[in-house]
Amino acid sequence: MNWMYLVPAMPFLGALLLVLFSKKIGKTGVSLIGCGSVGIAALVTIVAGLQFMNSGLQQFSLPLWNWLSVGNFNIGITLHLDALSLAFTFVITFVGFLIHVYSTGYMAEDPDFARFFASMNLFVGAMLMLVLADNLLLLYFGWEGVGLCSYLLIGFWYKDPANGAAARKAFIVTRVGDTAMAIALFLLVQHTGSLQLTDILAKAPTLWTTGDATVVTIAFLLLGGAVGKSAQLPLQTWLPDAMAGPTPVSALIHAATMVTAGVYLIARSHVLFTMAPAAQATVAIVGAVTLILAGCSAFVQTDIKRVLAYSTISQIGYMFLALGVGAWSAAIFHFITHAFFKALLFLGAGAVIVALHHEQDMFKMGGLRKSLPGVFWIFLIGSASLAAIPFVTAGFYSKDQIVWLAGASAQGGAGYWIVAVMGAFITAMYTTRMMLLVFYGKEKTHVHHRPGLNMMVPLYVLAVCSTLAGFMELPHTLGHVTLLSDFLQPVLPAVVTEHASTALEWGSQGVATLLCLAGIYIVWRVLPIPFPREVKTFLKNGWGFDAAYNLLFVQPYVLLARLNRKDVVDRLYVGLAAITRYFHRMMSATQSGILRWYIMGIVMGAVVILSVIIWRQYTV
């Protein structure tokens, strides 16, 4: 495990090599380095993971070097491996590798091939730092690093200003959350004198009582960071626009990994959230509201990637809901399955998009079932998982767990449960709609080009995973397998359930399944669903959040900036200078050159001096 440092180091090295030698090594070289570095990282992860599991250690730290040491405040560049980070690392490297391979096909025609892979490698490196960080500052390093790469990759096709705008929006909106997170770090430094995660989590119960204002504030601020990164309410607006990037980017960053960083952060600092009930409840509420809002928006999108984007927001909402009700491992479970099936869906969508020569409008697709059968089946598997078709899909198991625990856990309740099953219903509806629009009906655009093997193989692998990953964790009612939650047990406490019974669990599953199937049926029968146009537009634009932010923040700022471009403070000094010049002109008038005027000056002076002296002499 001591060479675990290779896990983040390889992608970083890959990025560096690609930046420096992009011109010399050709496309093959770029592909080799780009995929190879992540591949090696994946291998190392698997080996290190196996070692870790065999070693019986609960956690393992690998100090690399001392980063900062000021007074009593010490921060090391230290990697930290435990079950949680291992789960994330695995998903990142494994899915990341697949997506890299896929990209060699997807991006093959792009002149900036090398830049793409450099950014992707950099991203993987940063993401790995995020999840392997031993302290919050290093986590923050990764956190911002992935933000940067997200920015670079969303704006990858920089020639279109709209892409640049989307990229900046993503960066800036997440930065708002990051600012909150930074403040949380300051608070932690102040109160615990450390940013080391294990330290903080150990000290927290001794420093604060549950519900203490400080810890609640910290938790809320961390939540601020999490909602920014994970595109939850109220900072969700950037993710749909982020679809401007190449599709593999959407798959890797905006579906599988980066956007779940918020989930990771909250899971990582679960002790703090447990101690701050108000904050944890807010996590659940944010998740619940987001999953519904985003689901509704997903239903009316016309762009296939935007459907998936809203779907991602909605699914992460599920994860937040799970975190909020204390179902920590359920959230991680959903993260893993979601990473597989959402990556699959994005990559599948990418295959469709490439096949149709960069057409993303679903209403211009259709009938692809016949012309792209391979993609169709893969997409079907992904969609089934997303819609949580019972028993055979990973999505079913992970989502079901959340739905059940939303109601059954100690912090959960009926309200959460209702929202969760409603979400399942909506998910099924928009997924079906997407499938129908894209693969059924009449063919509207001709297929140009079929995806090659390098694109298809990753899809097959992901399809398999999307199906099998669900069996890591099976509910009580269906075999009761708890591989993942057992594995995570040392890091994340098990969920505490209240008023739970097998009957209720059956009931919950039954309702969810029914609603899911109902959703599919309804859409199957009545597409297109007649919505009033206004409602449709409103939903399509993401409930007007963008417009509101634009009106409330962006426009006033831009206006203020524009009005005060010349810096009003400078007027003060310009004014002073003008006054001085005015005095100059006034005084100059006295220097008329006329002799009598000068004499007058002297006489006036004499009169004043004499009168002052005499006045003074007689008054004092």
């Binding site: 100059s588 220097q591 002799l595």
Partner: protein, 101 residues
């Protein structure tokens, strides 16, 4: 009570002021020169009054110097005025204001 010294000084003061006022209201350079001579002599008178109060010769010595100096000044002044007249064709002091600002 007005002593002779005070009276003399007041006289000198009046002379001085008259010179001053006439310097202010006159524009003719010659008259201005004359006015300043009046002022100088007023000062000289004051010295004499003072000297007589103390019975000292110094004040009178001073008056001699003032006379000499005034003479020198007038001679230089007249020469300058003459020259200026050649150039400006006038003795109006207000005309001699080419330099200003």
């Amino acid at each position: 009570m007005i002593t002779s010294t005070t009276a003399g000084l007041v006289l000198a003061g009046i002379l001085f002021t008259m010179g001053l006022v006439s310097m202010l209201i006159r524009r003719n350079l010659i008259f201005m020169l004359v006015s300043v001579e009046v002022m100088l002599n007023a000062a000289g008178l004051a010295f004499i009054v003072a000297a007589s109060r103390w019975g000292q010769p110094e004040g009178q010595v001073m008056f001699m110097f003032i006379l000499a100096m005034a003479a020198a000044e007038v001679s230089v002044g007249l020469a300058l005025i003459l020259q200026l007249y050649h150039q400006l064709k006038t003795l109006d002091s207000d005309e001699a204001s080419k330099m200003n600002g």
